[in-house]
């Protein structure tokens, strides 16, 4: 059974417009999997709040 992340463990990552999941009318409905891929120059994509 899944549980929610505790508040102190929440992680925020900035998602670029190009990596937003949209419907065919352009409405934002989520985030594309590519937003969670680490880029070559990144040591980590997680930034702790």
């Amino acid at each position: 059974m899944s549980t929610k992340l505790p508040v102190e463990d929440n992680v925020v990552r900035y998602v670029r417009k190009r990596q937003l999941r949209r419907d065919s009318d352009g409405n934002v409905i989520g985030v594309l999997p590519d937003a969670f891929n680490r880029r070559e120059r990144e040591e980590s994509f997680l930034k702790l709040a």
Binding site: K17, L20, R21, L32, P33, D34
Partner: protein, 134 residues
């Protein structure tokens, strides 16, 4: 490039697709380390549309490598296709099959994609009589 296949897409479908691309590639939302859309990725995307003939337009995104991403979402059922160069498609899906949630991913040639998606009932994503491409 698009002019070679434009006759297979109806005017409304094509115009809306170009509007989606213009919005996606808007320079005001560009970051200095963003890769531009690769021509060879767009070529794969056009072949995807011709082979798969989706009636519903996809939502569009762009990978950090400059690959066009086409996504269809119906409720909780999601299909995401990354158009890589040389007619390569990286696909990820999550959908309900016989009451069970099924997730799958892979990489294939664009011409084989219809066969790969067939067991998952792709009309759940592609069928929409109001948005027929041609």
């Amino acid at each position: 490039m698009t002019s070679n296949v434009a006759m297979y897409l109806n005017r409304g479908w094509r115009d809306r697709l170009f509007a989606q691309l213009d919005d996606l590639l808007n320079v005001e939302d560009w970051h200095e380390d963003d890769e531009p859309l690769l021509d060879r990725s767009f070529c794969t995307f056009l072949r995807l549309i011709l082979y798969q003939k989706p009636e519903r337009r996809p939502g569009l995104g762009l990978s950090h490598r400059g690959h066009l991403i086409a996504a269809w979402t119906t409720g909780a059922d999601r299909l995401t296709l990354e158009c890589a160069p040389d007619d390569t498609i990286r696909w990820v899906l999550s959908c309900e099959v016989n009451g069970e949630r099924e997730r799958a991913a892979g990489e294939t040639h664009v011409a084989r994609l219809p066969e790969i998606l067939r067991p998952y009932g792709p009309d759940r994503w592609f069928a929409d009589v109001d948005q027929a491409p041609g």
